[in-house]
Amino acid sequence: MKKNGLLSRAFLAILFLFLYAPIFVLIAFSFNDSKSNAVWGGFTFDWYVQLFQNRTVLGALQTTLLVSVLATLVATVVGTAAAIGFSSMKRRPRSLFLTVNNIPLTNADIITGVSMMLLFVFAGQALADFSGWLNSQEWAVNADLWFDFGFSLSFVTLLIAHITFDIPYVIVSVQPKLRQLDPNLAEAALDLGATRLQAFWKVVLPELMPGIVNGMLIAFTMSIDDFVISYFTAGSQASTLSMVVYSMVRRRVSPEINALSTLMFVAVLILLVVINLRQARQEERRKRQALRS
């Protein structure tokens, strides 16, 4: 392939500008000393100060992080186990399960969200009927207490929804690693006296690790960025950052949100730079070692 000329370089530059323009706007407005987002009123840090006093936004940030971290952890463990399980199945059941696994990946978000909302409404009604029935029995203690675990049900439904759409990403990224896995490796470990558990922890799992980490990162990104599925499944008590933004967008976006997303963007940027530098250093070391031997 030929190298890029001036024209194709310009094309790339314009498209990257297109992708980044809104982000520059948001970062600029997070320093804007004016309530309106349309006019520039001078430089200020006020929005960053006010951000840390805004309870709605901080509460939503907490919900978002909590739900994303929990969902990612559960999805990584369950998804990795499921991927291993699928790979040891016969062809028929495996392809059936993988097809079902693909449903949340290919279906439109709104349909995933709406269908789960129907399930939660349905289950909620059944639960209410059941606790009503329990209450009508003489021997039962007040059943309402049984369903009050100290946190809102709305957070649980949100978490369930996030786990459901995160797992397929973990499975899709662990699968290729499983296919590359040499079955003799685990057997060699067993021959050398490792127990099955040791062989799994010390031999198989490290081989799968890159896939698992990759899946975990994708799942976390999807959870943080999700709006549509959360919107339909969170009910009225829990709201994520995206949901707060959506309710604001209809009236007026407060610049504190711009400040928050600028902070999150910078955090991700730093994280990515660190990861990249580490990878580059590791590659360098590997190259040097290869030269030496």
């Binding site: 392939m1 269908s115 399930l119």
Partner: protein, 270 residues
């Protein structure tokens, strides 16, 4: 390590939270409020034919634009050497880390009557453009949000093309246009197909973009569904019927498209 029972928890989870909800959608679509069987929900949908038409048209335009912009972008990035090429995936993914609602909303500032673009246009003596709250703005929002989903799969497919194949074509006397048309393009088609799926489905079902950039003027299927479940027109039975029909149409479209791709089913995700 072979133990198929490791999949048991997830199989149960899928049955409960993937399959059961979809079954409920079908049940809701076929029943009335008091639970008796009906097909009225589907016949009531006929009044929304224009909404369906508009959704598929706008999503189709957005998908075509994404191919026209995204393919050259992926191709040029793959031709780069060194830093830009190794950072390409990262650079395209990075904007996705900013909240998607905010990114979409900031187009309002860029496009509005006294916004950035119009100031720029009038400063070089061109007339102002009224893009915001039109269907054009909705298409722009779709292209902006989903362009990365077109570029990434195409890029990752082109990068994996074996250099020796291209050199062989050149040795056999193909010029650069022929190399592209007969070697690179056919080999990159799986990427295009998976890009089309990843752009078209979220575009056709969006309600956020049309709400934010279309000013609520151009209603899409997504808006319609949202209204039935959380909006003013609360009617989950009709909403389920609309969801079901949209899902079937999309599945049929994707099925036809993948026929052309002949069994290239490898997920080119990232």
């Amino acid at each position: 390590m072979r133990n198929k029972w490791l999949a048991a928890p997830y199989v149960g989870w899928m049955a409960l939270f993937v399959v059961a909800p979809l079954v409920l959608v079908v049940v809701y679509a076929l029943t009335t409020r008091d639970g008796s069987f009906t097909l009225d929900n589907f016949s009531n949908m006929l009044q929304y034919t224009s909404v369906f038409g508009r959704s598929f048209l706008l999503a189709g335009i957005a998908t075509v634009l994404c191919i026209l912009l995204g393919y050259p972008m992926a191709y040029f990035l793959a031709r780069e050497r060194g830093r830009l090429r190794s950072m390409a995936t990262l650079l395209i993914m990075l904007p996705m880390w900013m909240n998607f609602l905010l990114r979409t909303y900031s187009w309002v500032f860029l496009l509005e009557r006294n916004g950035f673009f119009n100031t720029l246009l009038s400063s070089i003596g061109l007339p102002k453009l009224d893009i915001i709250n039109t269907e054009a703005a909705v298409v722009l929002g779709m292209v902006y949000n989903f362009l990365p989903f077109m570029v990434l799969p195409i890029f990752s497919v082109i990068v994996k093309i074996d250099h020796r194949v291209i050199e062989a074509a050149q040795d056999l006397g193909a010029n650069s246009v022929q190399v592209f048309r007969r070697v690179i393009f056919p080999l990159s088609l799986p990427g295009v197909l998976s890009g089309v799926t990843m752009v078209f489905i979220p575009s056709v079902s969006t309600f956020v973009i049309s709400r934010l950039l279309g000013g609520g003027m151009s209603m899409l299927v997504g808006d319609l569904i949202e209204m039935q479940f959380l909006g003013s027109a609360y009617n989950p039975h009709l909403g389920s019927a609309i969801s079901l029909v949209m899902m079937v149409i999309v599945l049929v479209c994707m099925g036809i498209m993948n026929r052309f791709g002949e069994g290239e089913e490898e997920a080119v995700l990232l």
